[in-house]
């Protein structure tokens, strides 16, 4: 009997093992990040890797830490960000120097993708032509131009003020919302604004990037990062992408996403095919949630099952250990009860400083939540056993351990199972919150769908979760049929 149980559990967890061997592609949470992540993912898939996407992980530091700790295997970072925000270097070092620093952290910087996504000043093509302006230092001669500078750039330490000082620019710029600036240029309300060099709107609004002829702006070269111990085949595959995306290309790709409403997957595939980096696949829409559904479900199952196994492995023995001591039993019930009163989001949030993001804190949180039904049912079952059975078990000379193993637990099993089943179902529900901390699962389409107000996407998470609940019930019916003699079984299964 036990053998079957182990086979069953191992079988269920196998996907976790196999997933652990895939390449996990990460990204930060903004359009260019998503797009570069998707490009890398498709390239790797094409080169035969088993790819998992963990795109949109959040802030720089979370994504970087995820890479360092092996939760993702590759993501695209900018050299400037790496130098300043991550490695905390004062001035901007060369790529080689950066490579040295990164190596000490176990990180390898791969060759540049080809573009430098930094700040720039942009001017309308028309105005530039008319006045023959092509570089920032040309501006010194046109003090009458209206400058509308984004609030962020105005406020940055390395923003407007040092720039103006470096070039000796004679302007008093007006602060403007970045999203309105291009429109303002189009309306001729302002002539010049700041922008990112890869902004998809630059081409759309026919703007010219003024050359940073004094090299004022630090370089933000896009580079894939991997760990130093990365699979050489992975590195090889990623190196193929080197120098395939210049600023204009990146602008165009960004624009396809933002202005032409194409999906990241479509744009990425188009790009890779155009550059002959992959052959065009015949599959349908790559971005369809149908494609991700198996992953959602497997992740969800893994979270739930791992947490459930933990709480069985901890909760049942703990209950058994204390059930003869009323004070200890009471404490156990109180403590597991207290855990329940922490709202789930708060608990998940609490986990982050302790355990970071990903599936570990999610499993821990789920584990803590599923303790109560298991502990209480185990205790109640053991404490309300038929006293004659106890008398016989003791009277025939079984040791306390044997009494439990051969009499009390078998008799308590239907009730314990009832607790485990309740815990499992509650877990399936609560696990949908795991997506908030990047643990994936069916919460991912739900969270995405809620934030995009896309009901279909929400249902892509909600319906499988509901079906999982029913499947779980069936599974437990089967397990009970296997392990509990018919006459002792909760006959509804």
């Amino acid at each position: 009997m036990n053998r079957w149980l182990i086979v069953f559990i191992v079988g269920l967890l196998l996907p976790l093992q196999s997933l652990a061997k895939t390449v996990v592609v990460g990204s930060k949470a903004f359009n260019e990040g998503y797009l570069l992540g998707e490009i890398i993912a498709q390239k790797l898939t094409h080169d035969g890797f088993d790819v998992e996407r963990k795109l949109g992980l959040g802030k720089t530091i979370i994504t970087y830490e995820a890479l360092k700790q092996g939760e993702i295997d590759v993501y695209v970072e900018y050299t400037g960000t790496l130098a300043q925000a991550i490695l905390k270097l004062e001035n901007t070092p060369s790529l080689n120097a950066l490579q040295q620093h990164a190596k000490q952290e176990g990180i390898k910087i791969l060759p540049r993708l080809g573009f430098n996504n930094t700040y720039a000043l942009v001017i309308s093509e028309q105005m530039a032509k008319k006045n023959n302006i092509s570089k920032i230092s040309d501006l010194v001669n046109y003090p009458d131009l209206n400058l509308g500078i984004s609030h962020e750039f105005l406020k940055r330490k390395d923003g407007w003020q040092p720039l103006a000082a470096a070039y000796g620019l004679p302007y008093q710029p007006v602060g403007i919302e970045h999203s309105l600036a291009y429109q303002a240029i189009a309306n001729k309300q302002i002539a010049i604004t700041d922008a990112y060099t890869t902004d998809g709107d630059i081409a759309r609004y026919h703007l010219r990037i003024l050359k940073d002829d004094k090299n004022f702006f630090p370089r933000y070269d896009a580079v894939p990062l991997v760990r130093t111990d990365a699979d050489p085949a992975l590195i090889k595959s990623l190196q193929d992408l080197a120098n395939h995306i210049d600023e204009a290309k990146m602008q165009q790709l960004n624009s396809q996403v933002v202005n032409d409403d194409q999906s990241f997957a479509e744009v990425a595939e188009q790009f890779l095919t155009d550059e002959a980096l992959i052959q065009k696949s015949n599959t349908q829409d790559l971005n369809s949630p149908w494609q991700s559904l198996p992953r959602y479900i497997i992740e969800h199952l893994q979270l739930t099952i791992l947490a459930l196994i933990c709480s069985c492995v901890v909760g049942i023995p703990l209950s058994i250990a204390v059930y003869r001591r009323p004070q200890a039993s009471r404490m156990l019930v109180y403590c597991t009860g207290l855990l329940q009163t922490i709202p789930s989001i708060a608990l998940l949030a609490l986990m982050i400083p302790l355990l970071g993001i990903g599936w570990v804190p999610a499993v821990v949180a789920l584990f803590l939540y599923s303790l109560l039904p298991i502990v209480r049912n185990t205790l109640t079952a053991l404490l309300t056993l038929d006293p004659v059975m106890q008398q016989v078990a003791v009277g025939m000379g079984l040791t306390p351990r044997e009494q439990l193993r051969h009499v009390y637990i078998p008799l308590a099993v239907p009730m314990i199972f009832s607790g485990i089943r309740t815990a499992a179902i509650i877990n399936i529900g609560t696990a949908t919150l795991a997506a908030f901390i990047g643990a994936g699962g069916l919460g991912e389409p739900i969270v995405m769908g809620l934030s995009l107000n896309d009901t279909t996407l929400v249902l892509f998470g909600a319906i499988p979760a509901a079906l999982l609940a029913i499947l779980t019930e069936w599974l437990f019916e089967g397990v009970e049929r296997r392990f509990i003699p018919a006459h002792l079984r909760n006959t509804l299964g």
């Binding site: 008398q391 016989v392 078990a393 009277g395 025939m396 000379g397 040791t399 008799l411 006459h487």
Partner: protein, 248 residues
């Protein structure tokens, strides 16, 4: 463990007192169980027979007094160690519902890590003596008749060949013919490998037929404890006389 057969009493209760809910049941009870003999306890329903067995087995701790087993005084916690040497068939039978009849019987032997061969041998032997066939042994307790269950319980108590046997009305649900066979078995066993047996019964003829000694209990006191013949020929009290008269 072997009961030292030179010892007069395999079990000795000294000055035992016990109350339930402040109702005294035993007051300074003295009782000794003769080694390698069959002793029957008879007495009015509710006089304390089953409780006496529980005291010996250590299921109920006495409020006061000493219990000696095989000449050693044992405390309530020690008694646990002796239990495997005392086969105990409880009055309520108490088969484990999750195990079938055979598994109920062999549980202790399995825990003692007997070889499966010797387990099977012993099981077959006992089942044969108790008139249980293979079909019955494979049934779960709720599928057994009252008498079948009682005999399975008896087999369970005897599985480990315990030197001391405590039988609480262990034949009451067995039909007369089968019961005769069991009597025969016990008497023959007692000749070849004698055990210390304490049996509770309401059947005076059973007591006379099976046992060497009879203890008559009345309201928590042993009013007569003597060899069978003596109890029959010289009943100590009116009550004993009535018992003897009505049933022999």
């Amino acid at each position: 463990m072997q009961v030292d057969s030179t010892l007069k009493a395999a079990v000795e209760l000294r000055n035992i007192s016990l109350s339930f809910d402040n109702q005294p049941l035993f007051k300074n009870l003295y009782f000794e169980l003769p080694t390698e003999k069959i002793t029957a306890i008879v007495g009015v329903s509710g006089c304390g027979k089953s409780t006496l067995l529980k005291l010996i087995n250590g299921l109920v701790p006495p409020d006061d007094g000493e219990i000696h087993i095989c000449g050693q005084q044992v405390s309530h916690s020690d008694q646990a160690d002796w239990r495997r040497y005392m086969g105990y068939a409880v009055q309520q039978i108490g088969l484990f519902p999750h195990l079938n009849a055979a598994d109920n019987v062999i549980l202790l032997a399995q825990l003692e890590q007997w070889s499966s061969l010797s387990i099977q041998e012993r099981l077959d032997y006992l089942a044969d003596k108790m008139g249980l066939d293979q079909a019955i042994l494979s049934r779960f307790p709720h599928e057994l008749s009252g008498g079948q269950a009682q005999r399975v319980g008896l087999c369970r108590a005897m599985m480990l060949k315990p030197p001391i046997l405590l039988l609480d009305e262990a034949f009451s649900a067995v039909d007369p013919i089968t019961r005769m066979d069991i009597y025969q078995y016990f008497l023959r066993l007692q000749e070849t490998e004698p055990r210390t047996v304490l049996l509770i019964t309401h059947d005076m003829r059973e007591a006379v037929k099976l046992s060497d000694y009879i203890a008559v209990m009345q309201q928590g006191e042993i009013v007569q404890f003597a060899p069978v013949e003596q109890v029959v020929s010289q009943p100590a009290t009116d009550y004993v006389a009535r018992l003897v008269k009505e049933h022999i």
